[in-house]
Symmetry: C2
Subunit: 400 residues, 2 copies
């Protein structure tokens, strides 16, 4: 069923409407009549929205769906708690858990759907051990779900780039075969050559016409210096709107004047930012970033992998954590956090139109909530989830 | 029904047992037989635990159940975002929302139950406007729920103590009438007289034989100085084990050497600590506090009141946030966070025995989880909640 009438729902908590879905897309939206959900053609199915609040499907702008042990017996955390320690631990242990796998990826994507996420940008490990197998797995898992979760892939050199000869060629091959972006990882602290890694990544991106989405954990001035290198190269390569920094913890830590200059430089270069809103991280200067045009995306990061046992794939929890971390309390600011998880995230999955509007893919989440701030602070159960016109969740439960 | 057999549950994720409940208390615990839940006397009811994981009821060690607008239409956040601003805003606006009220308190307590909280220490506003009416409301609301939520009351001078002549007398009266503790509030930054407020509170506590639970938001050295004043007076007044600091943000912020001395002083004085684990607060030195015998309790703080629109009353979410804030990842540490929300919190509601053990009040939460770390990181639905021997939640839904 990808054509139906979703009757009597309240988009963003507003007045009740009927949403007509045809061939997996929203075709039109009309006020719900006094009888509720009138206007059903005889040959068309009707879903009763019961006056629930409707939001666009959530967009997870930073995930790692390829390497979770979700669905397997509990894996106790091990290894050393540093970035390098986690990388080594993962490479040593992943075979034991059959990581990466199609089944594991599919388990994660299903959990995303259960929580209302209908599109995700996912980093997928590319290294000398797994080659491009992880990417193939993700494509296969997504196809097995009939494309319910719309996927954008970043070929991610989790084990380093320059320090692992052969990885650049894998990234180049991934870009040639359809990855939308190539990734990078701490050019200074992991590869020990920030200019070298960045030049190599930008060379591939410019030649292949793909984007770059780079993990940058480095703090303070070392982090900031690499943001500058990235901004300079983005302008030189003409990649405005195609480069993203993931994590970027240093930005919130910079002294105000330096931070303001940096935000302007990022905005001018058309660089976006994704955050998983870690507790105990420095808040981002989100108002200044909004003014400067630096788009912010929210992500879950990995869930249940060899890096961390945390994560449940619920982007609403990330939005709430973002809101608390940034001290948001006014209704319009609480609503902004939900926009980051939905409409504002469209660029992270290369959508022109992601929202409850005609022409958009029919990605719709229904929640039993009074208004959008109420959604944010309670993160209630997803009553109904529609993904690409398919009903994938009813009463909080995944459908077969 | 307060006598029954709860069959086939896994306490703390261990082997399956049958828990016999008689007159609202756990009477005995036996391994589940091969048939599952054998040993039911003919006159006794049996509840099928379906092999679910069982925990003791959650203990919320820091709540404000008297002044929420939970259950009312959404109230947009207003007023100035400082402690003094929030106090003034609340006093100016509360009448408009009928705060405090029995119905509002009951709505909060029911939400606590839905999430598995069966005991709470709650601060209740006592001031020149409401007098002791808030305390009476809480008693009435708790009684209307047949005592399902076991309540311990702190008479809380939210509007200040010395600066509001008459409040000390109200605290004294509350102590005489059964409040287990009297509260205090930022003796320096609100009352402008730390020694004066503390001396007055300790005089009442020593004379009435009650405890003290003091809100302390002050940071840095000003916060630490007041911890010292409190520790000195606790020792002098012989109130070992009866004094608690709520929030105490400064403790995590002190330089390591000063912090270590402070933790030792707090432990020697028998002072405990409650935290709501705010994102972006300095982590507590919890290992050192454990060694020194400084008990830590977890609380939700207020939910949906005129201070903040946040909060859903789910203590598991607080435990998870505590765990993330403190970087807990090993299984034993994730389990510790759950212990803070359950067994370790017994002193905060003056229980000798709070756990899944014979003699304890039958406060039991069932969850569909593999093990205790899985409970912490997913905070899944509460399948069944038993409070004082009453089944109050089934399949995640509150019973009438």
């Amino acid at each position: 069923m990808t054509s139906f009438l979703l009757a009597d729902v309240r988009p963003w908590g507003g007045a009740a409407v009927d949403i007509r879905v045809v061939d997996g897309a929203i075709s039109d939206i009309t006020p719900t009549g006094p009888a509720g959900g009138s206007g059903v053609a005889a040959d068309q199915q009707r879903i009763d929205g019961r006056g629930l609040l409707a939001l666009p499907g959530f967009v997870n702008a930073h995930a790692h769906v390829d390497k979770s042990w979700w669905g397997q017996p509990w894996v106790s955390y091990g290894g050393e708690a540093t970035t390098q320690g986690r990388i080594a631990h993962e490479r040593a242990e992943r075979d034991k858990y059959g990581i990466p796998s199609v089944a594991g990826t599919q388990a994660v994507l299903r959990e995303f759907l259960r929580h209302g996420t209908t599109a995700t940008r996912t980093h997928v490990d590319v290294d000398l051990g797994v080659g491009l197998r992880g990417i193939a797995n993700v494509h296969e898992a997504a196809a097995a779900l009939d494309g319910a979760v719309d996927i954008e892939i970043v070929a991610f050199p989790q084990d380093g780039v320059l320090r692992r000869p052969g990885v650049l060629e894998l990234l180049d091959q991934a870009a040639a075969e359809g990855a939308t972006s190539i990734g990078g990882l701490d050019p200074a602290s992991i590869d020990r050559d920030p200019v070298g890694q960045l030049d190599a990544l930008f060379e591939i991106a410019a030649r292949r016409g793909v984007g770059i989405d780079i993990h940058l954990h480095d703090r303070g001035d070392l982090g900031a210096f690499q943001y500058e290198l990235i901004a300079e190269r983005t302008v030189q390569a003409g990649l405005h709107g195609k480069v993203n920094v993931s994590h970027g913890f240093a930005l919130g830590e910079l002294p105000p004047a330096r931070r303001a200059e940096m935000v302007d430089q990022l905005g001018a270069a058309g660089i976006s930012w994704t955050t998983v809103a870690p507790v105990n991280s420095a808040p981002l200067p989100w108002r200044e970033m909004r003014t400067a045009g630096v788009a912010i995306g929210l992500g879950t990061d990995g869930i249940r992998d060899l890096w961390s046992p945390y994560g449940d794939g619920d982007l609403l929890q990330v939005a709430r954590q973002f809101a608390r971390l940034h001290g948001l309390r006014a209704d319009e600011d609480l609503t902004y956090a939900i926009e980051l998880a939905t409409t504002h995230a469209a660029p992270f999955v290369h959508r022109e139109n992601h929202g409850l509007t005609p022409g958009a893919r029919a990605d719709i989440v229904l929640l039993d909530a009074e208004n959008v701030p109420d959604v944010l602070v309670r993160a209630p159960r997803r009553e109904l989830v529609i993904a690409g016109g398919q009903v994938v969740v009813r009463d909080g439960e995944l459908q077969a």
